[in-house]
Symmetry: C2
Subunit: 461 residues, 2 copies
């Protein structure tokens, strides 16, 4: 069989478009056995070739040479089949392959660990190298790929320049969270390869701001790291982040871009992955598609933090229960508070803006009230915060004083200098890619959205 | 001025398309001063806004309020200008802005380091946060962004699933090169965060092979690391790699994909970045476009390593000088040998295939001759190797024996297992993204293609 195999995706696409579908013609397919059953007279193989979520049904007759051997092709076997593609109106699947010739390319040893019909997510996490073969992870990782492409498509089409900010860095960015040290000489991490202490980045923002001062609109999209032993479903020590930065843009421009890009990504995935989204809706998170459509169809509302606190205090007075019920101006909101505002008050996506400066990062622009900064968090029903952004402090003296106060001016002189070398009003935001994927797929644990998740005490592969 | 500014790119695009160009209309632009000169009666500012390589000429008259102040807007100042867009047939630039109102958004301190007309690349390397404002790096980093998009576009359009293989890993892949250790406790790197030794990845290939056994065609595209103190123009300790992996594909399929994807990327960049390519042709690497067009127009030839050795020996006999002139079967070719074959013999791009197994990685498929493996290197004139690929050893017993011999079977059982759980013939390749960018732009030093390059003793930002 030297002819080229066709992909199952191309067959479904041709069928759907009504053009070029090779009905009653001979084709070759390759892939892996999902199920194999037979009545003694006729056998059926569900073939999965990884090019789409759907399978192709192969039908083989008892009169075929090697029927017995074929009927023993077990789950996950790699096979090649040649046959005639036949329309099957009225059946569950629109077409099937009447097999003429079939060949085992790779058998499966008896100790194959994924025999069980429905393995738990926990069990599958331990099988990171095999789990993409299951329906759930086939869907999750294809959507992960499509969502990444949505990000690039959106920002490139809007003229943003993609910047590969470094993974290894001399500064720990916002001082947020613990960092990993990178070394070639464990005994002396400071004086080794780089001649100074080197860490894995926690954010590319500071580095990318310099590029916004050259290209106007830029974005990073790459891995970031936190060495926190947070054993929660939302924390991993390695994850991907998108960090756009816009020059000549204030907080309102920033929020416009957040809303537009998030809506674009959701729409892109729903359009490109309808089968996967149906699967999530049915098996992972009923109500998912309504939730996403609601986000698509509503303008994102804006509310000041101060107003949010007032509404939370009011809710408390009216008898609403919060685990953390000490609601006061200046507090960092917990997920329950964010969710109350977006789910109960606004009943839709919302930006909470103008946070107390004490609870936000040093680089955020101080508002004229002297108390708040021009920051925004995007809150969505069912989740809470999914994007955080801010206008950046563009005033040299104001930023310098702040940085000297918190003690990070040394080593970041270059960052400060951006404010005296043709600086301008600019803003940006950060999207946790894995968390956005969790939100769009309804998958509840970040460990189930990353190909080989890294969390504390978990580095098997 | 509350109206929205237009981008310089949108003006040139509208002008070129003949549609929607706002001739004789009022527009607002924002950007940075590239040059500012005046005759006392009239002034000219070349405005760069980062959205494209081209600038916009602003013309301001001596009758303007604040003419004197405006004429002192120095290099790199951030400004906003409102005026009427006027066609200028017969002039160097097709249109200009007759300024009515102009405003300084961000001035430039006197110690701005990029005053000099033509700073050296070495000087600019030390100014990584400012150099994207120069013509060369404006072009390099925009092409870097466009080339990254070319990669994603090619592979996604061909049905490949993008897999984020991990940066932090428990194994050192092919055992190639020294690795960085990742730790939170320098005193005890083994028993800290992950409970075992953790390194930065040198390749995502082994991890992504598992995904090819689920999705058929996959690719990684992310940072990789080498802790080698190679102080050459082609080595950095952090760089981006593209690693596609194709199931049900042999070495010929692999080479088809390499040729097609490389040609696609070159064509994509040449089409999307004509101004930048003109700049490289003129200032960085004369002959660049002819070199690239040659690659586009020629089919890539295939030659066996054994034949390559024979031709090199013949050249030696005929008087050709090599620095390393001990040419014998089994040797690892140096750049001078590769370039002789591609430049002098083939006079075009070529694959050298079927290398001695001793000089190639353990996972490459052994050919029937027992001496060579199904590996291919893509060699191009002017550079040598730019892509390396191979068919992977899919036979469980053969691979097991090899891995036990070199001692990496322990810890990589999962990788070996892929061969007994529905494995199949598969192939893949690796493209060093930064080196491909060097090749396409003609930039000679990898430090000048990375936003913040990391090399030994160099971690300023």
């Amino acid at each position: 069989m030297q002819e080229k195999a066709v992909s199952i995706r191309s067959l479904y696409e041709a069928f759907a478009s009504g053009e070029g579908f090779p009905a009653n013609r001979e084709v070759i397919v390759e892939g892996w056995v999902k199920t194999n059953r037979n009545s003694g007279k006729v056998g059926f193989i569900e073939l999965h070739d990884g090019t789409c979520f759907k399978n192709l049904q192969l039908v083989y007759g008892a009169d075929m040479k090697g029927f017995d051997a074929i009927s023993h092709y077990s789950l996950a076997s790699a096979i090649e089949a040649k046959g005639v593609l036949t329309l099957t109106p009225g059946m569950k699947q629109p077409f099937e392959l009447q097999v003429e010739k079939i060949r085992l390319l790779g058998g499966v040893a008896d100790d194959y660990p994924l025999q069980k019909k429905r393995a738990s997510f926990e069990f599958l996490r331990d099988m990171a190298y095999l789990r993409p073969r299951t329906n759930t992870f086939d869907a999750v990782f294809r959507v992960r790929s499509v969502l990444a492409m949505a990000i690039h498509t959106y920002f490139q089409e809007h003229g943003f320049v993609y910047v590969h900010t470094p993974e290894i860095t001399a500064n720990d960015a916002e001082g947020a969270g613990q960092v990993f040290t990178v070394t070639t000489d464990a005994k002396d991490p400071i004086n080794d390869f780089y001649g100074r202490r080197a860490s894995l980045t926690v954010s590319g923002q500071l580095h990318v701001e310099a590029f916004a001062m050259a290209f106007k609109d830029v974005y990073t999209f790459g891995p970031t790291f936190r060495a926190e032993k947070s054993n929660t479903p939302r924390h991993a020590s390695e994850f991907w982040m998108i960090e756009p930065e816009l020059a000549f843009a204030d907080l309102d421009d920033d929020m416009d871009c957040i809303e537009d890009s998030i809506k674009f990504c959701i729409r892109y995935v729903m359009e490109k992955c309808p089968d996967e989204m149906d699967f999530f809706e049915k098996w992972i998170a009923p109500g998912l598609k309504a939730k996403l459509n609601d986000v698509l169809n509503k303008p994102f509302r804006k509310m000041e933090y101060t107003e949010g606190i007032r509404l939370l205090q009011e809710a408390l007075k009216s008898g609403h229960k919060f685990d953390n019920d000490k609601i006061e101006w200046g507090m960092d909101l917990q997920s329950e508070h964010e969710r109350y505002l977006t789910e109960e008050v606004v009943k839709g996506p919302m930006f909470l803006v103008d946070y107390p400066k004490e609870i936000k990062a040093f680089y955020m622009r101080e508002n004229d009230d002297g108390k708040t900064v021009a920051a925004c968090d995007l809150l969505v029903p069912g989740e809470g915060e999914i994007v955080g952004g801010s206008q950046r402090e563009e005033r040299y003296e104001v930023l310098k004083e702040k940085m000297e106060k918190i003690g990070n001016a040394k080593g970041l002189e270059w960052y400060l200098n951006l404010r005296k070398y043709g600086g301008c009003v600019h803003s940006g935001f950060g999207i946790g890619f894995d968390r956005l994927l969790m939100y769009i797929t309804g998958v509840a644990n970040i460990r189930d959205t990353e190909p080989y998740p890294r969390t504390s005490n978990n580095l098997k592969y």
